[in-house]
């Protein structure tokens, strides 16, 4: 009787659930279909190779840009610092290996100088990151 007088005010709120469904769908698509970038330097264009062989988890990385600058863990370091970094890595965990992320237009002798110095420091497992050609 009295209760009926109080009108039920229904807010015509926009329905959010279809939006959430779509966003979830896109999220799951990215989770399943893609992999996390192994390095985050957008300046470097990798050399192309025909085979695919995963660099493996937990490998150490050094980025070598086209102009010869060296980046480790996002910070630019000098060549001498790279050598001491190699020595530290070799004494810390010699079996772990390193992956070099070199630009495809970098001078090959400069890359080989880095590979040789890593080997001389005691790191036997040196790999070069490439991307599979489409």
């Amino acid at each position: 009787m009295r209760l009926r007088t109080a009108p039920v005010r229904k807010q015509p709120a926009e329905n959010m659930i279809p939006l959430i469904n779509i966003v979830f769908l896109i999220l799951i698509f990215f989770l399943v279909a893609s992999a996390l970038r192994p390095f985050s330097d957008r300046e470097v264009r990798l050399a192309e190779s025909a085979e695919t062989k995963s660099p493996g988890a937990g490998t150490r990385m050094a980025v070598l840009r086209r102009d010869g600058s060296i980046y480790v863990a996002g910070a630019q370091i000098s060549e001498a610092e790279l050598l001491s970094r190699f020595a530290a890595w070799a004494t810390d965990d010699p079996g772990r290996g390193i992956t070099l992320v070199a630009d495809r237009d970098m001078e090959a002798p400069a890359l080989i100088a880095v590979v040789t110095s890593a080997n001389a420091a005691g790191i036997a497992d040196v790999k070069l990151l490439t991307r599979k050609a489409r």
Binding site: L31, S34, T99, P109, V115, T130
Partner: protein
């Protein structure tokens, strides 16, 4: 009746924080992920005091800055490399030394390294 319905609606968890977090996750994965396929190519430099052996077992591959190749001082195209190395392997060559000239690019080095890995050579080292 009406009271209990009111209580139930009040206890519903708000959807807005959930959407916020899902959007955040979506943006993170869109920025941090890639669809490229990566590959890791083993490269080994020359070390002193390595294996002993006759010099006849070693082939010298020189990479020119034009992208051309010289194997034991014989000019060779990139597509002829595999067959030429197969011929050398038949003559007793087991290892190769790859020497890129000044001015040659990493992309050319990768191409040659990949080709030599498909041959029967036991090891290929790179030198400056």
């Amino acid at each position: 009746m009406r009271l209990s319905e009111w209580q139930r609606r009040k206890s519903t968890i708000g959807l807005t924080p959930l959407i916020d977090v899902v959007f955040l996750l979506l943006i993170f994965f869109m920025l941090a992920s890639t669809f490229l396929k990566f590959s890791a190519l083993p490269v080994s430099g020359a070390r002193g005091g390595g294996q002993s052996g006759s010099l006849n077992e070693i082939a010298l591959i020189q990479l020119r800055d034009t992208g051309g190749l010289r194997v034991n001082n014989i000019e060779i195209g990139l597509d002829g490399l595999r067959s030429h190395i197969a011929g050398l392997v038949a003559k007793g060559v087991t290892r190769a030394v790859l020497q890129p000239a000044k001015g040659s690019k990493v992309q050319d080095l990768v191409k040659v390294l990949e080709l030599t890995r498909k041959t029967e050579l036991k090891s290929v080292v790179v030198v400056r």
